[in-house]
Amino acid sequence: MIAFIHSGDLLFPVCMKFSSNQSPVTPELLGRVGKGDASAFAALYEQSSSVLFTLALRILTNPDEASELLQDVYIEVWRKAGNFDIKRGSPMAWLITLTRSRAIDRLRASASRGRNLTDSIDDTSAAELPGDSLDPLEIHSKEELRTLVTNAFTDLPVAQQEAIELAFYEGLTHAEIAAKLNKPLGTIKTRIKLGMTKLRYTLRPCWELK
């Protein structure tokens, strides 16, 4: 059973403060990028390129393709950051969603499959449906966050990890995962549901209700 939180709440990260030599990817920073602030873009690149490249490489598995994809993402961010709507979510989550969606699209295109996720940041993506700012990077250093998330994920049963990874990094639906693993549909749904629920509660200290 999912524990619901009250509507209209904004979720804010808790506890740790960002180190002085790092600036989080805030909506304000993205706003400055949108206005053509080169130093803001440089800060955004410095803060986001590592995790975005890692994500793209995990999905595409080819460094050249991942690099090419990230170029497209950053060029689009540079040219169209002014169109970013904070209601869509935190800038970092948006960048991750954008990178993942484009990488999965490329993966599917190379596999001659349909179903595009996000073609442009101008689109209103279903993946961005809830909106509202929720950005752990506002208070966690990247290293702290990596440790926290890695521990939370590796604590999941391997079967749950596998199902979530197949969905998130390979863009498979639960039906496709069930077919791939030769398991009943309900089993796969349950694995994803249980795994994501545990992550939701384990990682909740990363944010809190305002």
């Binding site: 690099s67 060029i75 979510g89 752990p136 590796t154 979530i164 639960h174 994501m196």
Partner: protein, 327 residues
């Protein structure tokens, strides 16, 4: 979908695992105002958005930054270049000042600075590596120089030893030559004595002591065997004169080592096996003279040898060989 199904769908939606129809149904449900699902989805999406942080971080390729810089420069070239060329210096200055205000130009500049910084770090690292390699090579060269010096010392030492051996060999050769000359002199003396005896022979027909020896030396078929000293008696030598027809012989030996008490010299004629030809001692001056009346069968004798044996001699040689020579 039931509410429970929506609750489950929210978690799957966050990782994009729903089928298209399910996605649309959930989106409609949330847009219709289900705040519970909206709030849950917000947290699930936040958790899903953190998943990439669980991946082992990969190094971002340097050429990504370079390519972005190039793209922004092109962007600037397309959008930042004035339509007409400025007419005056002032206009040009103002135009350039305008360029600095262009976001694309500024971004390109920042990326250029970042690129140069990264290049400088790389260069510094390379220089440090090269310095470390140079130090390593210097250390290796020092070690090799030390090894070379040690080898040269060894070579010098070996050369000294070789020179010493050469010198010793030259001394030994000189000694051998001296010995040979002494033997030749002894032989010449013996031959002279022999010739004198031969000359005197016809004049002295009366049988006196030693006549038997004289008669032997007068024989016309006297054979001479030169005996050389062995390692035990390097300076010793000898001559064995024998007459195969009468099977008599005369042995003359010189520089013979003193005989230990209870020992004697024994002459052997070596046929198929050694056969004793007689025992003898030494005279003053380390010389030995012995007249042998009956040698073993000389026609088959291959070699003569003198050994040191217990007093009275032995049927077979047991002591060291002092003299030997081929028949």
């Amino acid at each position: 979908m039931s509410l429970e199904q929506f609750e489950e769908a929210v978690a799957l939606y966050a990782v994009d695992a729903l089928e298209p129809a399910e996605r649309e149904a959930l989106e409609s449900h949330v847009r219709a105002g289900c705040q519970e699902c909206r709030a849950a989805l917000k947290e699930y999406q936040a958790a899903a958005g953190l998943l990439p942080y669980a991946l082992p971080a990969e190094a971002v390729p340097f050429d990504l930054q370079t390519h972005l810089m190039r793209t922004f420069q092109l962007d600037f070239a397309k959008s930042g270049e004035p339509a007409t060329a400025p007419k005056s210096l002032r206009d040009r200055f103002l135009n350039w000042r305008g360029l600095f205000g262009q976001p694309a130009f500024a971004l390109a500049a920042v990326l250029l600075v970042l690129g140069i910084g990264a290049y400088a770090v790389t260069l510094r690292s390379q220089l440090q590596n090269e310095a470390a390699q140079r130090r390593e090579i210097e250390t290796v060269m020092q070690n090799e120089s030390a090894r070379l010096a040690a080898l040269q010392a060894q070579i010098s030492d070996q050369e000294q030893k070789l020179n010493k051996i050469r010198s010793e060999f030259a001394d030994s050769l000189g000694t051998a030559r001296d010995t040979l000359e002494a033997r030749e002199a002894e032989l010449a003396e013996l031959r002279a004595q022999f010739a004198q005896q031969k000359e005197r022979g016809p004049l002295n027909k009366t049988q006196r002591p030693g006549d038997e020896m004289t008669a032997f030396l007068r024989g016309s078929n006297i054979h001479v065997v030169s005996l050389s000293g062995s390692d035990e008696a390097k300076s010793a030598g000898g001559l064995l004169l024998f007459d195969p027809s009468s099977r008599r012989a005369f042995l003359y030996a010189f520089n013979m080592p003193p005989l230990p008490a209870g020992k004697t010299y024994q002459l052997w004629a070596i046929l198929d096996k050694p056969v004793s030809a007689g025992i003898f001692g030494t005279e003053p001056g380390n010389k030995s003279r012995v007249f042998i009346q009956q040698l073993p069968e000389l026609s088959r004798t291959k070699k003569f040898a003198v050994t040191v044996e217990p007093e009275g001699g032995r049927p077979e040689p047991t002591g060291p060989i002092l003299l030997s020579g081929a028949a």
